[in-house]
C-alpha cells in the first residue's frame, strides 16, 4: 500500500502548503488547474488504459457546471444541494455508460467514430447552451450565485477542491491495484482475446467512459462554484481540446500525469501569456515534441528520472490464491451444425455445412487452404454471423451470438496466431484468464482477486515440461512463438470449458513441444470427458489425437469419420492428391 499512500500524502501535503507559502490568490489559481486536472484524470483513465479517446469531455463538464449553477442559484440547504449533486453525477455517469455501451456493442475496436460522436455531442451542447438564452443566459453565461455552502472562493473553497482532487487521485491509485484495472488495459491490448475469454468488452468500455464522464462532471460542478459563472465555452470544443492537451502533455498512463499537466500548463500559460508573445508557438513545439519523443508525457519523464535515483523495489512474488469455481457450462454436450451457410460480401465461405460431433472426444478438422476450417470455428464462437442455418451445442442455439457469450456457454478458443496480451507479463496474462468465467462484479473490486490462479492453469504450469513457470514475471513480448502457444493454451483451458477449440495449436513447435502439446490436449479431454476440436495440418498429429476427423473442402463437408476410414476415403484422397499436404 506504500506505493499508493506515499504519492497521495505527498500530493496532499504539497497542496495544503500552497496557501501557506504563496497566499490565497495563488491557491485560487491552482484551484482552477486542479479542477481541470480532475477532468483530465478521467480522460487519462479511459484513454491511457482502454485506448478509447473521447473528444468531447467538456460535454459532461459543462452540463454538470450548468446544473450546479442552477442548483446553487436556488440557494437550497447544503444537504439538499449535495444530494442533488449526487443525483446529477449518477445521471451523467448512467448516460455516458448507456451511450458508450450501445455504440460499442458488437464491435471490437476503438476507431475514430466514437471520438467523433463525443465531439459532435459537445458541439451540440455548446450550441444549445448559447442559443437557449432564457435558460442558460446564452453567451454571457449563467451567473449570480454563491459558491457551495457559501464558502469563500478565494479562501476555504480551495480545501474542498484539494479534498476532491486528493480523493480522486487516491481512488485512481487504488483502482490501479484492482483487477478492473487489468481488464481495462486488456481492452487496449487485445480486445478480441478478451471477448473470447467471456468479457463483454463494450460494457468495460462503457464503464470506463462512465467513470471518465463522472470525473468530468465532478470537475464541472466544482468549477461552477469556484468561478461563479458558467458560459457555453465550458461545454464545447475548445475546452475538450484543452483537456486533451493537458492529459497528453501531463501523461495519460500515470494517475498524477494529467493533474501535473493541468497545473504546469495552466501555470506556465498564465505566467507567459502576457510576457512572452510567442508562448503559443512554444506550446505547439512542446506538444509536438511530447507526441514524438515522450508519448507518456511529463509523468513518464519524471518517473524515468526518479527511477535513476531510486532503484525500484524488486517485483515481489505474491502467493497465488485459488480462483473461484468456474461458472461456465461444463457438462459434455454434442455440437451440431444444421445446414450452415456463410457468405461474406459475394464470397461463399461455407455452403451448407452439417455434422454432429459426439459429446466427448477429439475431433480434428482438416482440409486444403481455403476450405473454411477457421471459418467453422469463427461461426461457433460468434466471430462470424451465419447467413443461414444454425449451430447448436447441447440444447442451445449458439450461432450468431456475441463473441463474449461463448465462454459462459462452455466454449473456449485458441487462435491460429497465438493471441495473448502482449504488453502484460506472463503472470498477468494468466490472472486475466483465471478471472474468465469465474469472476463476479464484486470480485473485480477485491485486491485478492489479482492473485487468482485457476486450477486448470495450475495443472498446466505444474507439468514438469511446460516452460512457463520460470517465465512468470517476463513480459509476453519477450516470449518465443512456442512459449506463446503454451501460454495461450493455458489461458484457453483456464475456465475449464466443455468445448475447447484449438486452431493449429502445434504450429511453430519443435517435435518435443508438439508431443507435449498433444499430451496436454489428450489429458484435458480425458479428465472430464470433454469435447476438443482441433484444426491441424500435420497428419501424424491428427492420427495421434483424433477420435473423429472432419474433412472440409470448398466450404462443404467432404467426410466425417474416424481417421482410418478417412485415409481410405477415395474422395478425400482425390482432394489431397493435388499436392497440398
Amino acid at each position: 500500500m506504500a506505493s499508493v499512500l506515499l504519492p497521495v500524502s505527498l500530493l496532499l501535503g504539497a497542496l495544503l502548503l500552497i496557501p501557506e507559502l504563496f497566499g490565497d490568490f495563488v491557491a485560487y489559481q491552482i484551484g482552477l488547474y486542479l479542477i481541470y486536472g480532475i477532468a483530465a484524470q478521467g480522460l487519462g483513465f479511459i484513454w491511457g488504459k482502454t485506448g478509447v479517446l473521447p473528444l468531447g469531455q467538456a460535454l459532461f463538464f459543462g452540463v454538470a457546471a450548468y446544473l450546479a449553477a442552477s442548483t446553487l442559484k436556488a440557494d437550497l440547504p447544503l444537504v439538499l444541494t449535495l444530494a442533488i449533486s449526487g443525483l446529477v453525477l449518477c445521471a451523467i455517469g448512467g448516460f455516458a455508460f448507456l451511450l458508450a455501451t450501445l455504440i460499442f456493442r458488437g464491435r471490437s475496436e476503438s476507431g475514430p467514430y466514437f471520438s467523433l460522436i463525443t465531439l459532435a455531442l459537445a458541439m451540440i451542447a455548446e450550441q444549445i447552451a448559447g442559443t437557449a438564452t432564457s435558460i442558460t443566459g446564452g453567451f454571457n453565461g449563467m451567473s449570480g450565485f454563491a459558491s457551495l455552502g457559501h464558502l469563500d472562493p478565494f479562501g476555504s473553497y480551495y480545501y474542498v477542491i484539494v479534498g476532491m482532487s486528493v480523493g480522486v487521485s487516491l481512488l485512481l491509485f487504488i483502482l490501479n491495484k484492482l483487477p478492473v484495472h487489468l481488464l481495462a488495459r486488456a481492452v487496449l491490448d487485445n480486445e478480441p482475446r478478451l471477448q473470447l475469454l467471456g468479457f463483454p468488452t463494450h460494457v468495460i468500455k462503457g464503464a470506463a467512459f462512465a467513470f471518465s464522464a463522472l470525473l468530468a462532471a465532478l470537475a464541472g460542478g466544482l468549477f461552477a462554484s469556484h468561478q461563479g459563472i458558467v458560459t457555453p465555452t465550458s461545454t464545447g470544443f475548445a475546452l475538450s481540446a484543452e483537456l486533451l492537451i493537458l492529459t497528453a502533455v501531463g501523461g495519460r498512463f500515470h494517475v498524477l500525469g494529467p493533474l501535473l499537466g493541468a497545473v504546469i500548463i495552466g501555470w506556465l500559460s498564465a505566467e507567459l501569456r502576457d510576457s512572452f508573445p510567442y508562448w503559443e508557438l512554444l506550446m505547439a513545439f512542446v506538444f509536438i515534441t511530447v507526441v514524438l519523443k515522450a508519448p507518456g508525457g511529463i509523468a513518464e519523464v519524471c518517473e524515468k528520472v526518479l527511477a535513476r535515483f531510486m532503484p525500484s523495489a524488486s517485483a515481489s512474488r505474491q502467493a497465488s490464491a485459488i480462483a473461484a469455481p468456474s461458472r461456465t457450462v461444463q457438462a459434455p454436450a454434442k455440437l451440431k451444425f444444421h445446414d450452415v451457410e456463410l457468405k461474406i460480401g459475394v464470397v461463399r465461405i461455407l455452403n451448407g455445412v452439417s455434422f454432429e460431433t459426439p459429446a466427448s472426444g477429439v475431433v480434428s478438422i482438416i482440409g486444403p487452404n481455403g476450405a473454411g476450417k477457421t471459418s467453422v470455428l469463427n461461426t461457433i464462437t460468434g466471430n462470424l454471423r451465419l447467413t443461414s442455418g444454425r449451430i447448436t451445442f447441447g440444447e442451445d442455439v449458439i450461432s450468431s451470438r456475441p463473441v463474449y457469450k461463448a465462454l459462459n456457454r462452455g466454449i473456449a478458443r485458441k487462435l491460429q496466431v497465438p493471441s495473448v496480451f502482449a504488453s502484460f507479463s506472463v503472470s498477468e496474462n494468466l490472472t486475466i484468464a483465471s478471472l474468465a468465467g469465474r469472476v463476479t462484479l464484486a470480485d473485480l473490486f477485491r485486491f485478492s482477486t489479482v492473485r487468482w490462479r485457476s486450477s486448470a492453469i495450475s495443472k498446466v504450469l505444474n507439468h514438469p515440461k511446460v516452460p512457463l513457470n520460470r517465465l512468470l514475471n517476463e513480459p509476453v513480448a519477450h516470449l518465443s512463438q512456442g512459449h506463446r502457444q503454451f501460454l495461450e493454451y493455458a489461458m484457453t483451458v483456464a475456465a475449464e470449458p466443455a468445448l475447447l477449440l484449438l486452431d493449429e495449436p502445434c504450429a511453430g513447435l519443435s517435435p518435443d513441444e508438439t508431443a507435449l502439446m498433444t499430451e496436454l490436449i489428450k489429458q484435458y479431454q480425458e479428465t472430464a470427458q470433454r469435447l476438443v476440436i482441433v484444426i491441424e495440418h500435420d497428419m501424424s498429429i491428427v492420427e495421434a489425437i483424433s477420435d473423429k476427423v472432419l474433412v472440409l473442402h470448398l466450404g462443404q463437408v467432404l467426410a466425417f469419420d474416424d481417421y482410418s476410414s478417412i485415409r481410405t476415403n477415395p474422395e478425400v484422397q482425390a482432394v489431397y492428391a493435388g499436392g497440398t499436404k
Binding site: 448559447g130 468561478q227 459563472i229 501569456r273
Partner: protein, 382 residues
C-alpha cells in the same frame, strides 16, 4: 514582413520611455485586451490606444497628481482564464482600477470576481443591461447606434423594409429587439429576422431569404470573421443593389477584409472611425501614427475605445479625488470630458457620445453624418 514584431517594437519603445519614470508611476491601471482568440485582431490597436491614453493622462498631470502605469493582460481566452488574468493584476500586482475591451461573457465573469471593490470601465460596443457596482461603460449600446441612424437612413436611402440578421447570442438579439421599435417609429417594417450559429460560415440560404423578402435594408449584427464572409457573399449575389446594409460592429479591419468590390452602400454606425474629420480626432490619429509608425495596426472603434475608457477613468477619479468606488460613484453622474470622439457625458454610468454614420463604399469609411450627444437608453440608477 514580420508585422507582429514590427508592431510590437514601437510600443515596446514607448513602454520603455514610460518605464523610465517609474518613481512617478504610483497608480497601476490594469488594461484587459484580447491578444489571443477570435478578437485577437484588436489586441494591438487596443494596446496602442491605451498606451497613448496613459501618455496623455500623465502629460496632463496624471490621476490626482500621481502618474499612472499600465499593466496589460490577455483576456482573449475563456471567461475563467480571463478572470484569473485580471485577478493576477489586482491581487498579485496591486492594480487599482481596470479598463477592459473584451466580450460580454468575460465582463460577467469579472463582475462576479471584482464584486464592486475595484473601479472597472468596460469599453467596447455592447448590448446594454449591465449595471454592476463599480462598472462604468463607454461603449456604444444599440439604442445609441440605432435610434438616430434608422430614421436618417429612412430619409436618405428610403430604407423601410428591414431584414435583421445576426449571430445567435445576446448582443444581436438585444440589438434587434430595440431596432424593431425604431424601425416602426420611422414608418418602416421588419420583413425578416434571422440568427446564425457561430459555427456557420456559409450564408447562401440567408442571402436567398433576404432576396426573397424584398428588403431594402439589412441590419447586420454578425460579428468577427463571419461578418467578412457574409458581406463578401452578399455582394457576390448582387444584393448590394437591392438593399443597403447597416452594421453596428463593422470597423476598419472588417471593411478591409470585405474588400472594396463588396462594400457598396455598406453603412456602419459607431462612436469612432479613423476617418472622423474633427480636430481632436485628427490630433489623435497623428499622435498614433507618430508613436507607432505608419505601418501600425489600423485604428478602429474597438481598439480606440480603450483610450476612451482610460480617459473616463481619469476624469472620474480626478473629480472624485480618489480611485475608491464609493467616492467615484458619488460624483459620476453628469461627468463631462472630451476625447477624439467628441464631447461626452456620463449618464446612468453609460457614456452619452457623438455617433457617426459612415459609408464603406469603395473600401474606406466616409463619414456621412454625425449625431451629437446621443445618450444610451441604458440607465444604471443605483
Amino acid at each position: 514582413m514580420f508585422k507582429k514584431s514590427v508592431s510590437l517594437l514601437p510600443s515596446a519603445a514607448l513602454v520603455a520611455i514610460l518605464g523610465s519614470v517609474p518613481s512617478f508611476a504610483d497608480i497601476k491601471i490594469g488594461v484587459l485586451v484580447p491578444d489571443s482568440g477570435p478578437a485577437g485582431l484588436f489586441g494591438p490597436s487596443t494596446r496602442n490606444s491605451a498606451t497613448l491614453a496613459a501618455q496623455d493622462i500623465n502629460a496632463a498631470g496624471g490621476i490626482n497628481g500621481e502618474q499612472i502605469e499600465l499593466v496589460f493582460a490577455d483576456v482573449g481566452v475563456p471567461p475563467a482564464e480571463a478572470a484569473q488574468a485580471a485577478l493576477r493584476l489586482w491581487k498579485g500586482q496591486g492594480v487599482q482600477a481596470f479598463v477592459g475591451m473584451h466580450d460580454s461573457a468575460v465582463r460577467e465573469a469579472l463582475i462576479g470576481r471584482f464584486n464592486g471593490q475595484v473601479p472597472y470601465v468596460y469599453t467596447p460596443v455592447y448590448e446594454g443591461n449591465s449595471c454592476a457596482k463599480g462598472l462604468y461603460i463607454t461603449g456604444e449600446t444599440p439604442s445609441q447606434q440605432l435610434a438616430p441612424v434608422i430614421p436618417f437612413l429612412a430619409e436618405k436611402e428610403g430604407a423601410d423594409k428591414w431584414y435583421l440578421i445576426g449571430h445567435d447570442y445576446n448582443w444581436p438579439r438585444d440589438t434587434n429587439a430595440l431596432a424593431k421599435g425604431y424601425i416602426s417609429d420611422a414608418g418602416g417594417e421588419v420583413v425578416g429576422e434571422e440568427y446564425l450559429p457561430f459555427t456557420v460560415s456559409e450564408f447562401d440560404s440567408s442571402l436567398q431569404r433576404i432576396k426573397e423578402s424584398g428588403a431594402n435594408a439589412v441590419l447586420i449584427t454578425i460579428v468577427g470573421g463571419a461578418s467578412v464572409g457574409f458581406n463578401v457573399s452578399y455582394a457576390g449575389f448582387g444584393l448590394d443593389e437591392q438593399a443597403i446594409r447597416l452594421g453596428t460592429l463593422i470597423e476598419e479591419n472588417t471593411l478591409a477584409g470585405i474588400g472594396p468590390d463588396n462594400a457598396d452602400r455598406l453603412y456602419s454606425s459607431s462612436g469612432y472611425f479613423a476617418t472622423i474629420e474633427t480636430e481632436a480626432a485628427a490630433t489623435f490619429e497623428s499622435s498614433y501614427t507618430d508613436a507607432f509608425g505608419s505601418d501600425a495596426p489600423p485604428l478602429n472603434g474597438l481598439g480606440q475605445s480603450a483610450y476612451e475608457g482610460l480617459m473616463l477613468l481619469s476624469a472620474l477619479a480626478n473629480k472624485a479625488g480618489s480611485l475608491d468606488v464609493e467616492a467615484m460613484d458619488a460624483v459620476a453622474e453628469g461627468t463631462n470630458w472630451s476625447t477624439p470622439r467628441g464631447d461626452n457625458t456620463l449618464t446612468g454610468r453609460h457614456m452619452a457620445q457623438t455617433i457617426y454614420l459612415a459609408d464603406g463604399s469603395g473600401g474606406a469609411f466616409n463619414v456621412v453624418t454625425s449625431f451629437d450627444n446621443v445618450a444610451s437608453s441604458e440607465i444604471c440608477t443605483e
